[in-house]
Subunit: 232 residues, 3 copies
């Protein structure tokens, strides 16, 4: 266990074996951190938080010459609220905010500039790309992929293994990058495919395995490839 002397650790907080806590980290009270974790520079963790083994908090993004998106300037620290649970083998980057009561399961990968609303659940192996906003009381089930530049409103349900994209022209440099907008209480079935820059309306339902190629109005159910309305 290596704790940098500038880190501030609250009372009744337990830290696992071989865990590394870097300088400038602030941790609240009644926190449990597992074994072999890395809490990177400046990360802020609230109280009553539980973090599994082998998890990395506050990682800085890599980049190479070919990557379209490079973070500008220094990202702010990763901020974790109160009563948050984070699983094992997870990786959360700098520059994101995880609000109170969130559950992030094992093996989740969450990049920078993401805001996760209160009491939201990210299932195991969920991947979230940068510059994305996820509302409160959202459920994103195991293995789903949330692309960059996406907005997911309150109480949305996303089933397992869903996929999205944000680049209509697939790396040709044309157009803007924009992920889907999923409005409040919409439900997306497992393994559905969402194309870039579409809107899924309030309380709408997308069937399992559907391929959604254009906007879905509020309160509509769509299924199939390409997805079309069905009457329920």
């Amino acid at each position: 266990m290596h704790i940098h002397q500038s880190a501030k650790i609250g009372s009744d907080t337990k830290i696992g074996e071989y865990t590394i806590i870097e300088d400038g980290v602030i941790i609240g009270d009644h926190v449990e951190i597992g074994h072999y974790c890395m809490i990177k520079k400046d990360t802020v963790i609230g109280s009553d938080v539980k973090i599994g083994d082998l998890t990395i908090l506050g990682k800085s993004p890599n980049s190479n010459k070919k990557m379209a998106r490079k973070p500008k300037g220094t990202l702010p620290p990763l901020e974790i609220g109160n009563n948050v649970i984070i699983g094992s083998h997870a990786i959360l980057y700098r520059g994101s905010i995880v609000n109170d009561g969130v559950l992030i399961a094992d093996q989740v990968s969450m990049r920078e500039q993401i805001n996760i609303g209160t009491h939201t659940i990210l299932g195991r192996q969920v991947m979230v790309e940068p510059n994305t906003s996820i509302g409160s009381y959202v459920t994103i089930q195991t293995g789903s992929y949330i692309t960059a530049d996406t907005t997911i409103e309150e109480r949305v349900f996303i089933g397992p293994c869903c996929s999205m994209s944000n680049d209509k022209y697939m790396a040709t440099g044309r157009g803007i990058h924009k992920g889907p907008t999923i409005k409040e209480q919409a439900k997306i079935g497992n393994n559905a495919t969402l194309l870039p820059d579409i809107v899924i309306g309030k309380q709408s339902v997308v069937g399992a395995g559907a391929v959604v190629t254009r906007d879905v109005p509020d309160n509509m159910t769509v299924v199939g490839s390409p997805a079309r309305e069905i009457k329920m």
Copy 2:
């Protein structure tokens, strides 16, 4: 390496560096455990078992207020049979049974109350949800997702990246939770989508990318979205 004094370790067993073995663990003979592993409380491991690096065995489930399913009471220990191979970066929960001769590849995530039959293979990044039974000599290829409350019979083949779900009404609280039943020797093509509570018949074949919305009788081949019979 931290081995709790109450752990029982068989003869000719090798344990890697920085590995943590908790109290009540029982390990057989001729076992190889990698580096940075966590063998949690009470886990039982047979003989001639090989476990990769950075793997967690016997994890207890987390839960928060919003989760539908909370384990009741104390789960029994994780039990691993003889001649089992487990990869690196895998996570296996308490309360499951892995029978003799099983191969579990890297990065697999396997929850509680699961039974894996003899000589079955789970490919890399396979995710298995709770309360699921998988028969003997089954192959589940890389990246597939097995939902909760699922039955997979003997000698089933599931290709890579398949997806299932178990909740027809998607978290509205209506209906029961029930995953698919896949009967013996059925074959599911890659990236197929299976809806809740359907039956795939004996020796039936589901084509790659198919979306299966209703039961498939024995010995039938179905393809497409929604999946329909084709004559081979």
Copy 3:
């Protein structure tokens, strides 16, 4: 930190805490290796390489009696070129070659006998199976699955969560194992499904969620399930 005495480490190279470097490893100059990494026997790493935390380089394959494919003889060491970036929680096997300027993101799983061309990007959680060739300046986005026996030519773009297979008869022992051939500058949309042994032509485009069941000629755009040509 355990460094075997036979390992050769270049100048200005930094190695993280609790990292294990086995015998016969050769590491160039100006390399940064994270915490809790395992650099297995004989691995060769160039100069100006950056490796994240909890990453395994040079793992040897496991096998059990049921697996069709067993590596023959001893695999050569894993070779990593210059200016390569590898993320955290990644696993790269022995017997593969990663050329200069490649970016391999977090949680990638890459087996043996794979060649990755210069300046190619593998996104997070990408899985690559054995005996596969990936050209230069290729992008494979987050969560995609590249099956065994696959050829991907230069400047191909593969969106997130794509899936492929290489066994038309799904483990019945009939036919040969052959993955897709994706020709130069082709683009594959997110969550597309490619069947075994098909050719995607030069500069062709496969739509998101498409299921490609037969060859696509050069410069053609296909969408749907099964995928058919559309005029753009």
